[in-house]
Symmetry: C2
Subunit: 210 residues, 2 copies
């Protein structure tokens, strides 16, 4: 059990590497060089090796990394040993895209509930996930031991919903809304702001042009 703490950016890249490696494995590739992995992600081979150094894995010299082993090692680092239960708060296309990705991936991340206001969805299955009424958030979160919430509700209900999630004991929130959230430091918050991302692209496009 590695107790060292990984750089945040390394954690991000490991998640991406793993997906690429899974693709490679599916294509029958058994070994991969650092520069191959680097080319697939527009980064340098040094960075790949450095990330892999952090997690303490070693390749067979000159043959590249064993794809299967590396997948397992990354899993050992970033996956939880226990299951982590996830809820989608506001189940639109976004939530469904994520759900679809994780379904059948036998991952430790289990999307176990959705919440919505739409009566047509409540008490039905949406993309293979049971949808509950927003009114029952606290109850279901506790009952199903949900530790992570994906927040895709309209802007005006984001703050209130967040407060209820925190009250209910949620441990991590992935915020897809366009409003900044306030959570206690014990809750890990990941902001995912599409307006900012777009304005940022626009800014750098403009800069380059001028």
């Amino acid at each position: 059990m590695k107790m060292m703490k990984l750089p945040e950016k390394t954690v991000e890249r490991l998640s991406i590497y793993r997906r690429t490696l899974l693709d490679c494995l599916a294509q029958g590739k058994t070994h991969i060089f650092s520069h191959e992995l680097a080319n697939l992600h527009n980064i340098t081979a040094v960075q790949v090796r450095r990330d892999i150094m952090f997690i303490g894995y070693s390749s067979m010299q000159r043959k590249g990394y064993d794809v299967k082993e590396l997948i397992d090692v990354i899993g050992g680092i970033i996956d939880s040993e226990a299951r982590q239960n996830v809820a989608i708060i506001g189940i639109g296309n976004l939530g469904r895209a994520i759900t679809t990705y994780f379904m059948g991936k036998r991952s430790k991340l289990n999307i176990v509930a959705a919440f919505d206001l739409d009566p047509n969805k409540i008490d039905r299955m949406v993309s293979g996930v049971k949808c509950y009424s927003m009114q029952n958030i606290e109850e279901i979160v506790k009952e199903k031991d949900i530790s992570i919430a994906i927040l895709t509700v309209p802007a005006d209900s984001a703050a209130g919903t967040t407060e209820r999630l925190v009250q209910a004991g949620i441990r991590g929130i992935l915020n897809f809304t366009t409003v900044p959230l306030n959570v206690p430091s014990s809750v890990h918050l990941e902001e995912y702001d599409m307006i900012t991302s777009l304005e940022k692209v626009a800014y750098f496009v403009k800069k380059q042009a001028g």
Copy 2:
């Protein structure tokens, strides 16, 4: 015209500040202190002041920043003087959410076209935007002088579509797909990877628990 280059993170925060400031203005607030703005975003007042220092704006001492002025100054920095035309490639909920946000915001960012494969959408208006066939990407991009693309297509067509966009002369891409893209360095690429974000939340939740 400031030619200095802003830190990337500052650009991100300016985009967020502006949205908050617009809300404040709508609520009739005319001035705001650095610590107020900071509290609204879970950051420190020093960081707010430092960001504002970068763009060269000065408040009236002791009265906080003039909300309206600050909005304009931020706009002068991050907005383009010319219009920047944007296309949504694959118009699902995601694209529609972004479109809806920018509609009526009299922003310099104009979403002028959508592309999709679905014959039910092609040649119709979707969320106020004309939808075209994927086959016509090159043509329409040039015709409408589109410089920015929001990519929300399925994973397996992401790479091919990107290549066509680059060929057509696109300058910036916001990638919502879960595959890493390869673009020439002249094209600004912003990755927006929801799987990684979720795995990252899960990792830090797990760490904190253990």
